[in-house]
Symmetry: C2
Subunit: 468 residues, 2 copies
């Protein structure tokens, strides 16, 4: 513990009414008291906002595989070392190195009008001068899928299905396939290019990007997102089947040999360091905004929660491992992280949870299997009730792109943040620091530190079926 | 009245409980009843939304002097003729023909970051490859003005003063000089280019454009607006006097020989057609959005109010003249409109009022001089009270850019719309149809038709000092 100012931390926790952790078997009353003290400490002002402010201000956007993503990883290493974390290191892995180019769209007929468009990640490029073609417009994704193979030949396919606002993000989950698979599906049907209405709940003219995917062997066609008002303008202009014609310029490129960096750091457990509670967020972001809510906030919240635990007079029994993933947006970081950890190592992981849903408070925590009904579940419920938040009676259903590959070996938990407004700015140029309220973000830190501390300093086993 | 379906209109007003207008002296009770019926007719659904929807959908943006602005004028002529207006015609006048070019900005140090910028109208251009220079950042406009002449030589001057949200737009009025005169003031001090924080009350990454001005003989320097989050990012990065360096590309051009079109239409008065009640909005818009709230809405609201009056079984005693101005944003339409009307002609104008503050309800009407205390003021107050809206006890202080040049000869009124959220999207790409609520816009039409009808069918004289 040479890395931290023990005296200062001890004084802090004494002031907060936290007694020294017991050396032997976990004492439930002590665990509960410590969790409450950590929660309250978070609410008084955690390290989350300074971390997020400096990341988004000094670095800005951090597209996976870009120079700025590497700068962010180096910045995070220095920051985490300065904060007193142990075993701080970078794990690099290959990524496609997709890089945005020019992007312009213009309706040619029935009226010349500029359209606000942005390229989707992994999408292909038009020639530099663009393409001009008739539009095949569909109001739902299902309408597009119903078209026969080859029937959209030579067309710019546009799908304008609106996304539904939902607190838990299920409105996005139900429609993301329109963006993620739509370009490939349109290409199968002959499309020259593919545009979707932004997966957005706002009425901004800023389009929302995000990854699209092509099966192996399929050359990516140009694909992009229109802003919501632009998609609605096309809906209006096409009433009665009026033909539309569009010019589209999208010129992204791929950078062979690109890599991205995941940053890993520990608070080493004092009794069973091989038993790991894994938490984290992702450090990479889309390139349009500065990645404040997606996912600087998740990196900041989990870093701040781990920092509160690191500052306790005694480390918890188990290790708290912080992973700041380097390529969530294109889903390369999770597989890379899992791949370098053997199944045997993963079998010692207590639980994994990822924070990747903005900077708003956590309102519910879903635990693995029937863990809500264990003593751990009851302690956690008591710790987070004042925020207020609850332990969900239903089990967690996955936990995020980066930890999903651990799922076969590691129990996953899900700390649910309020996402009612998340998709107003998600993946758009509007994802900037000014959208984050430090006090509300600290409520998320409070839930995260209670969840993490209780898992790390108790002997909870999320693999054991809970007593009913 | 061959131009309208008299039978239909008569049936409509019979249904609305409006008796035939009296042929002789104005009957106050009849005026009041007619004003109430017109108000209620507006609230049931006016022509405003269809007008606005079709203008912004079929034409889109309408920059003064552009091809699309001419298309909008031709569209409006056809629309107003189809709606039954009389004397529909275009009045053309010369404008500078300023046209937006490329616009990009990038911070070079202390960190490479894209900045969202848009050029100001009338501003000059950088070379095609842009300029790169140190930034002189000022947190207030007064700080910049306090710099000696020549002291900002070779700098890109940035002013980041925030605008205050105010219902009546006075937050904009108090700071607009920062945009309108700032580029010239910076140039006097040696600046290479000038950027302001957008005059905006939103936190969108979309920058807000608007006109800037240079005195005769001064060559315009490049000038633009940064989005609010970008200005705040520069504020954070410059803390402690840390030097900033920026690359800026802004390449607007001027089109010699450009003209713009004001569209004029009448409801000819049945007794005193030379006495004119002038209402209108402006048809031109900035080129970033589709000019829905600025000022398609004002054109639509006043057109709808005039249309309700045109559809009465009898025209009002005086003429209602509708003017859809063609270059408000660069302030060329008002002087051109006044210039072709002699002082003698203008001396017969009863009153002029311009609608140019969005699509929200009118909450107050300010009349010329002490007119609030006349019988007209009392009738108007009664007509608009249910909306609710009131007649301001204070006199109108001007009435808009396009009618201001008439001010020496024509009394001006001001119908005040709620502008609390107007500057969230004003002059930005977010100014699109989806931001307009048809029912709320019809509340504005209701106030406008009451104001206009009572002025046109009574013998009110706004030039006479009112009895106290």
């Amino acid at each position: 513990m040479t890395f931290k100012t023990v005296a200062l931390a001890a004084a802090l926790f004494a002031a907060a009414g936290v007694a020294k952790a017991q050396a032997q078997a976990p004492d439930p009353a002590q665990l509960q008291a410590n969790a409450a003290a950590l929660r309250d400490q978070a609410l008084k002002g955690s390290a989350a906002y300074p971390f997020l402010r400096d990341l988004t201000t000094e670095i800005g956007e951090r597209l996976a595989g870009s120079e700025k993503e590497h700068l962010a990883a180096q910045w995070a290493v220095a920051r985490l070392k300065a904060m007193g974390f142990q075993n701080v290191h970078i794990e690099s892995f290959p990524v496609p190195g997709w890089t945005r180019g020019e992007e312009r769209a213009e309706l040619i007929s029935p009226s010349v009008q500029k359209l606000n468009v942005t390229s989707l990640g992994n999408a292909g490029a038009t020639p530099p001068e663009g393409v001009e073609a008739p539009v095949a417009l569909f109001h739902t994704y299902a309408d597009m899928l119903a078209q026969p193979v080859g029937s959209l030949s030579g067309k710019i396919v546009v799908v304008t299905q609106p996304m539904v606002r939902a607190q838990d993000g299920s409105g996005y989950g139900s429609l993301a396939v329109m963006r993620f698979m739509g370009a490939a599906e349109a290409e199968k049907r002959g499309a020259l290019a593919y545009l979707v209405r932004s997966l957005s709940t706002s009425d901004s003219r800023l389009p929302h990007t995000g990854a699209t995917d092509f099966p192996p062997g399929m050359a990516p066609i140009p694909a992009g997102a229109l802003s919501v008002p632009d998609a609605e303008q096309l809906d209006r202009l096409s009433v009665g089947g009026r033909p539309l014609r569009m010019r589209l310029v999208l010129t992204p490129t791929f950078k062979p040999g690109a890599t991205a960096d995941t940053v890993v750091a520990d608070v080493v457990g004092r009794e069973r360091p091989d038993e790991v509670v894994l938490i984290g967020g992702h450090l990479d972001s889309w390139d349009l905004g500065t990645g404040a809510i997606d996912d600087g906030a998740g990196a900041a919240i989990t870093t701040a929660a781990a920092k509160l635990i690191a500052d306790m007079p005694h480390a918890p029994r188990r290790t708290v491992r912080l992973a700041l993933f380097g390529a969530e947006e294109i889903n390369f970081a999770g597989p890379a992280f899992a791949a370098v950890r053997s199944a045997a190592e993963q079998s010692h992981y207590v639980v994994a949870a990822e924070c990747d849903f903005g900077a708003e408070p956590v309102y519910a925590i879903a635990l693995p299997g029937a863990s809500a009904k264990t003593p751990y579940g009851a302690m956690l419920a008591e710790a987070i009730a004042p925020l207020p938040a609850y332990v969900d009676r239903a089990p967690a259903r996955g936990g995020g792109e980066d930890i999903a590959p651990l799922g076969p070996h590691v129990p996953l938990a899900s700390l649910q943040q309020d996402g009612t407004h998340y998709f107003d700015i998600h993946h758009s140029a509007d994802d900037t620091l000014d959208k984050v309220d430090p006090q509300r973000m600290d409520k998320a830190v409070a839930a995260w530190v209670a969840f993490t501390y209780l898992a790390a300093d108790s002997d909870v086993d999320f693999r054991v079926k809970a007593p009913l």
